[in-house]
Symmetry: C2
Amino acid sequence: MIQRGAAPYKGKWALPGDLVYPNEDLDTAAERVLEQLTGLRGVYLEQVRAFGAVDRHPLGRVITIAYFSLIKISDYTVTPASFAQSAKWHSVGKVGELAFDHNEILESCLKRLRRKVRMTPIGFELLPPKFTLTELQQLYESILVQPKGNKQRIDKRNFRKKILSTNLLHDLNELQAGVAHRPAKLYQFDRDKYELLVAEGYSFDI
Amino acid sequence: MIQRGAAPYKGKWALPGDLVYPNEDLDTAAERVLEQLTGLRGVYLEQVRAFGAVDRHPLGRVITIAYFSLIKISDYTVTPASFAQSAKWHSVGKVGELAFDHNEILESCLKRLRRKVRMTPIGFELLPPKFTLTELQQLYESILVQPKGNKQRIDKRNFRKKILSTNLLHDLNELQAGVAHRPAKLYQFDRDKYELLVAEGYSFDI
DNA sequence: GGGTTTGGTGTATAAATGACAATAAGCTTG
DNA sequence: CAAGCTTATTGTCATTTATACACCAAACCC
């Protein structure tokens, strides 16, 4: 989020965004805005939808096209845009009232992310190339666990059974290092195999 | 589709669309454009996404926000918009090369519709209030059957078992009339019951 | 009343899901 | 180096869900 440094909604938190240049595709604009905030290039980015209520911006007609991205926030520092006082990562569960209709936008994006992460293997975008099954499970839990307490946790044995049954994880025969307990085995996602299966009609589903 | 009466793409078929007025929400604009073409109001309409490649319109920068709608085409006559030579319903399987990036837009919308019809009971939007199970099954088949021959037909017994097990169809104890064979029982979708279940976390899935 | 056409139904097998707890392995510390 | 700590790893059973498959029933038409 960025904290707005000017009216309207001065001081309020808002999702970062900017105007699209006349000679810029929407996807390119989204990449640019993301880069301006995080310095990141080439990360996963997906359009969600357009928000176009007439009165959503007090100063004029603004149509926003929302995107979500997947970023390992530990790897990058956020830098506030020029029109922002500060930029800061917020926990999804602790987002208060945002500027404009950004709460609605956030909701839409979260909903899309939750569906997407179960239907395609985008989760691996967020993990290092070599990861443990526990890390993978924690990732899924942090994305999928609903605030409403819909389902609080995933069963470890069932999760491993299901994810390994896809045969898309390659056991590297390497162990995690630097932990103060029994180290876990490291796995790698086999993207080539996945692409191949998709071409044959396969559909990932967790 | 409308057949374009002016350059660019004169004579080509295109999805109907129009510019959004300054004081008009996106959803309202979609409703207006639909009404101009079909005379219809109050039908199901859903935004899919925005298309904004810089060069998608030869004459300038145009960003299109795509919607799909569910319409019983037998009930309404299409009327060409002012800038169109003619307006005509096309079978999805027989759509040729369209103007602009409209083939891509159509693909996106179809994909969304196919997902949506399995995850929410929007199918009933297209049926009369009283319908037979065969009509319902034919509706699902016509939407879901993939061109790639993914799955050619739904099993009658399994379909009925599954749809009736939701307990969302109300058996009206009425029979179809005017058919030259054994008439089928008529059913009604229980929307109130559905809304109630959804509030409790229920999720429709066929 | 017989023919035609679509409506309606059940069962058995396979597959997927969900619940559940004990042992194994590496690390740390005394 | 042994004991203790912490997390990793593994299998079975019961239940539910999916799938394959074929015959009789009922209304209409002639």
